[in-house]
């Protein structure tokens, strides 16, 4: 509980002012300090108003605080608490650990046996929800339960596969691939070439016939060095 010296002289700190407001600086060793504070408060009316407000709050708090019960009032309460013997949390020592595990196992086995017996007697077989969904017709939404509906799956006629990567063709579930099976090649009498435009470098592809199947062959630069005679189709 001190103050500090500044350009305007000694100034009490907040803790010291609080002690003064609470009446802790009475006559005696702290009497000089109290007089010093009162002199400072006389020169600082705003601080004096705050100290006075703090003093009134302290007085109101002391006036409204109920008095502590006397020691004699605590004795019967303590006696009653001791007489209750409240149970403390901890392991139940009446059953050993192995006994409890054994009882739990027997109970579980009995439940499984009971459920199996009831299921056999009633002749009921639970169908998994996914299996039920698969059993539904593929087109249209079909109800498989009061709160569930099977996802409508399109049929092959309802899906047109426009493009697919070669490695992904085996992953398609529904729909017809653009190419089913092997490529069936045109025969020579099934093709009529009507026009062939040259490329920008004047390269003109050839029509080659390996067997009966014609094909358009655009030679690489290396192949153009030794061109073959094109066949007419």
């Amino acid at each position: 509980m001190t103050g500090q010296f500044g350009e305007s002289g000694w100034t009490p700190d907040a803790e010291l002012l609080a002690a003064y407001a609470d009446g802790e600086l009475e006559d005696g060793p702290t009497g000089d300090l109290r007089n010093q504070i009162e002199t400072w408060l006389a020169r600082h009316p705003r601080a004096a108003d705050k100290v006075e407000a703090q003093r009134r709050v302290t007085e109101w708090f002391q006036a409204t605080t109920p008095a502590d019960p006397p020691e004699s009032a605590w004795e019967p309460v303590a006696a009653r608490l001791q007489g209750l013997r409240l149970p403390l949390p901890g392991p139940d020592r009446r059953w050993s650990r192995w006994a409890r595990l054994t009882a739990l196992g027997i109970t579980g086995a009995a439940c499984v046996l009971l459920a199996f017996t009831l299921a056999t007697l009633l002749g009921r077989r639970e169908v998994p929800s996914w299996q039920g969904a698969l059993n539904q017709p593929r087109a249209g939404a079909s109800s498989i339960g009061p709160d569930m509906e099977a996802l409508p799956v399109a049929t092959a006629a309802e899906v047109e596969i426009l493009s697919v990567q070669g490695d992904d063709t085996a992953t398609l579930v529904v729909g017809e691939l653009p190419l089913e099976g092997s490529l069936l090649l045109l025969q020579a009498d099934e093709l009529t070439l009507t026009a062939v435009e040259p490329a920008r470098d004047n390269m003109v592809p050839e029509v080659r016939k390996g067997g009966n199947a014609p094909m358009i062959w655009a030679p690489l630069d290396a192949e153009r060095e030794d061109p073959e005679e094109p066949d007419q189709v």
């Binding site: 493009s163 070669g166 092997s182 490529l183 920008r200 592809p205 080659r208 655009a218």
Partner: protein, 158 residues
């Protein structure tokens, strides 16, 4: 005068003629041709041939035995009307342009034009349901030769 001309017999005749004539025929929808393009990469490395490509691989090998491995990269189809152009993506940002010049003629042949990468247009007429192989001059960085196979279908209900 009018009552004399418009007899019940005449009215019945008018109704009969109207019924026989029927409503105006609906305008015929333009015939569309389904074009399928299969993208193939052939290489001289390895000898694995996709089972679906055995026929074309055999034909190409007759021309270039060094091409031993044939991989089916993709397959795509588009339904095109006459004079409608379509681009089919291939590999490495390359594409092939296809245009239908004429739908199936009485001989069940379709005229179309195909423009492979780095080439001019190839115009031809072909029967439906079979592929024309086009060995392009495009090679990937791995020296794989790009091959197209083009098919049109169906024609006249077939």
């Amino acid at each position: 005068m009018v009552g004399t001309l418009f007899t019940p017999r005449l009215a019945g005749f008018v109704v009969l003629v109207s019924c026989l004539a029927g409503p105006d025929p609906a305008p015929e929808e333009p015939k569309r041709v389904k074009v399928t393009v299969v993208t193939i990469l052939a290489s001289d490395k390895g000898d694995e041939v996709d089972a679906r490509l055995k026929g074309i691989a055999a034909e190409v090998r007759k021309m270039n035995p060094q091409l031993k491995a044939f991989k089916l990269v993709s397959m795509a189809s588009k339904s095109l009307a006459v004079d409608e152009k379509a681009a089919f993506p291939l590999v490495d940002e390359q594409s092939a342009q296809v245009v239908i010049r004429h739908s199936a003629d009485p001989n069940n042949r379709v005229s179309l034009g195909v423009t492979p990468p780095k080439q001019g247009e190839i115009a031809y007429r072909a029967v439906c349901g079979k592929f024309l192989p086009i060995v392009t001059r495009y090679q990937t960085e791995g020296k794989e030769r790009l091959i197209l196979a083009v098919r049109v279908q169906p024609c006249n209900g077939k």
